[in-house]
Symmetry: C2
Subunit: 433 residues, 2 copies
Amino acid sequence: MERIRTTQLREHIGQRVILRGWMHNLRALGKISFILVRDGYGIAQAVTQDENVLAALHGAHDESVIELEGAVVAEAQAPGGVELRDIAVRVIAPVTDTPPFPLNKPTVNATLDVFLDHSTVALRHPRKRALLRLSAGIMSAFREFLNGDGFTEIQSPKLVASATESGANVFAVDYFGKKAFLAQSPQFYKQIMVGVFERVYEVGPVFRAEPHDTTRHVNEYVSLDVEFGFIENHFTVMALLTRLIRHILARLAEQNAAALQLLDVKMPNAPETFPHIHFRDAQQLIFEKFGEDCRGEPDLAPQHERWLGQWARETHNSDFLFVPGYPMSKRPFYTHPDPADPKYSYSFDLLFRGTELVTGGQRLHRYEDYLAALARAKYPVEPFAYYLDAMKYGMPPHGGFAVGLERFVMQLCGLSNLREATLFPRDTHRLTP
Amino acid sequence: MERIRTTQLREHIGQRVILRGWMHNLRALGKISFILVRDGYGIAQAVTQDENVLAALHGAHDESVIELEGAVVAEAQAPGGVELRDIAVRVIAPVTDTPPFPLNKPTVNATLDVFLDHSTVALRHPRKRALLRLSAGIMSAFREFLNGDGFTEIQSPKLVASATESGANVFAVDYFGKKAFLAQSPQFYKQIMVGVFERVYEVGPVFRAEPHDTTRHVNEYVSLDVEFGFIENHFTVMALLTRLIRHILARLAEQNAAALQLLDVKMPNAPETFPHIHFRDAQQLIFEKFGEDCRGEPDLAPQHERWLGQWARETHNSDFLFVPGYPMSKRPFYTHPDPADPKYSYSFDLLFRGTELVTGGQRLHRYEDYLAALARAKYPVEPFAYYLDAMKYGMPPHGGFAVGLERFVMQLCGLSNLREATLFPRDTHRLTP
C-alpha cells in the first residue's frame, strides 16, 4: 500500500490507505478518540474506539511521528469532509516531552520573541507555515514571469571587496586575513550582467548592518532583483513591475488558495495600471492634508507613506501606488536624474498598502556620467573600476528594481512585524536559531 | 515598429524590423560591410554598401550599443540563414575604446586570470555566457522537478551563530560587535524544515573558508540543497536524486540546445538507474587495479574517483556513479550509520564523469542519537540546541543532498577549472570583480 498525502484523501474514499505525519492532536470524546495527523501538506482526522489502537500511542506526545492505516470514509463533520476509520497506528518517532507551546490551537499563543526562540518547532503551526508557503509561491511566480519574459537568472557573489551603495551599514568579513564585506544588494552585478544577457534577475540574500531595530527591518533578507536594458525611462521599469506584481498575485490566488484562506488574506486591488504620483506632488498633497510642510525633505515619513496608501485606495481603488521622482540627494550615485529637473530622479518607490515594497528606477549608463557622479559623491573611482568597465564598453539605457520578499508577505497578510514573515530572522539581538 | 530579438528574425522575413544590441563585429569585404549585432539572445547579421550608414558608425568601437532597422531577407550564407538589408543605424551608446580583448573570436584568447580580471566585459563572449545560461537552466529544471514532487522552497539565513559542519573553515563576520559566521551549508535549516514541510529545497550561496586553491574549489558557490522525510534509507535519496538529474539533463537538452551546441557539449549517459558501488568495494577495485592499498583510508583520492568514473562508463555505460557507504569517520556527526556495520555510513557521493558532484545521505533523526553523536565528536550541545529541538519534537527518518551548481556545469562542459563555470569566483586570491 502506497502512502498518500492528507490532501489526497478525498480521491480514495472507499479504499484503505496509509498516512504518515505528525500527531497534531489526540482527544477523546467519551469512548471515541480523534487523532489528527498533520503531514507536509494538510491535516486529516482518524477515528477509533479501539483500545489496542490507543495503546500504541501510549506515552506519545503531540508531534510524535506516526503512521496511520485505515479506511477512507466520507464524513461531513470531519476536516475536509473525509476521515479514516478502522485504523491501525504505528509510532515512527515518539515525542516524550510536551512541545514548548501547543501547535494545534488556531493561533500561536506566544509573544513574538518566545515564538522566535522556539521557531524550529513552532513554524510547524499551520498558520506559520502558511506564511512560508506564500514566500515560496511568490518566488516561484516571480521567476515564472521573468523566465517567460526573456530574463536569465544569475547568482552573484555575496562576498565583495567594497560596499555596494554607500560604504555605511555593511558587515565586515575576515577573508583570509583581508577585509571583505557582505553584499548589501546585487546591484552592481545585475547591472553588469545586463551587458551580457540584457535581462537578468536574482533571488538571494542581502545583508544590511543597520543598527536600528524596527518592525519593518531585519539585517538579512531575501531580495528579488530585476534589471533590464533598452528601456525608455523609469516608466518602462514600472510597467514591467506592474505586470510582474499582477502575475504574482494571480498565481498566489490560483496555487496557494489554502494558505491564503487559512490566513484570512484579503487579496489586494492591483489594477492593470497602478496609480503614480510624483514625489513632489505627494509632498504637496501631504502638506494640503496635514499642514505639515515636508516639501524639500528628501524622503517620505512612514506615516505619510501610510496615508498615501490610503489615498491611493480611496481615489484610485488601488492597494499599490508608485511614487516616482525621489530627490537625487537621497538616491545612490548610479541613479539616473530627471533631465528636465536634475534635483529629482528617474527612480521610484512602490508602496503596497502604504509601505515601501519595491525601490527601483533607471540607472546611469554612460561611462562619463558615472565618473561625474562618483566625483560629485566624492567617492574614489578605483573600488568601482570593474563596474565602470561594463559601462565603458557599451551599456544600453537600463533600469530595474528590488522587491523585499518578506515585506511582500508582511503587507499581503497584514502582519505587524516583518519577523513573522522571515524564516529565522536576524536582527541586532538575534542570530539564532 | 517594435524591436524584435535577433533570434526572432526568421519569423519576420519580408518585413522591416528593429534590432538593438551590441556591435559584435564590423568588417568590410570590398565595398560590402557586414555588421554583426549581438543582443541578449543571439547574433544577427546586417549588410550594407551605403557610406552614410557606415558614417553613423564612425568612431564606434566593437561593443557599442546600436539600433539597426532593416528589411529581413533569407540568405543561406548568413548566420541563422537570414540577414538585414537596406538598413539604418543609430548608435545608442558609443564605445570609444577597444575592449580588453576581442569578444568576436570563436574562443576567448586570454589566460584564465586575465579573463577573470576583465570578466565584467568578457562574459559577453558567446561561449562564456552560454555557460551561465546552462547554470540558469540547471537551477530552473531543479526547481521545476522538486515543485512537481511536493517540495517547498526555503531561503535560510546565511549569517549563523555557529559553524554548521565542524567549526573549521568558516568565515567570521563582525556582527554588531559579536562574532557570527557565514553558513557553510543550509544543512541544519533544511533538516529543521523537514519538520515543517516534509520536503524542502534551497538554492543559494554557501561559504567555505578553505585555504587551498584547487581547480575544483572556490570559496563561495551555489548549492542546490534538498532534504525530505519519510525515507527508507539513503537509497530512497539516491533514487530521487537520479530522477532529478535525469530531469535536469532532459530539460537542458530541450531548452538550452543552442548553448549546448555552441559549447560542443557531449550529453552524458544517465541511465534510468545509476550504477552504485559501496565505498568498501570501490577501494577493493582500486586495489585490484592499481595495487595501491587504500583500504582503510576514509576517503577516495581524486585520481581514483576519476578512474571509478571511467570504470562506470566502461562497465555500466553510465557517466554517473553512486558511491554509498563512506566511512563514518569522515562524515559529519548528523550522518546515519549503517546499522549492519556502523563503521560505514548511509551516506553517498555521486560521481559525474569521475568527479564528486553531489554528497548526500540519510541523517540521524532520533534526539538520543544526536546527543550520542555530539558526545562522540566531543562537541558541546548548547550551540546546537535549536537544531536538536527539531529532533526532540518529532522528526521522521530523512535525508537529502547538495549539488554544486558550478561543478555540474564544469563536468557537463568538460571545463578544466571550476572558475570558468562560476559567476565572479571567489578564492584566496580573488575578491573582485
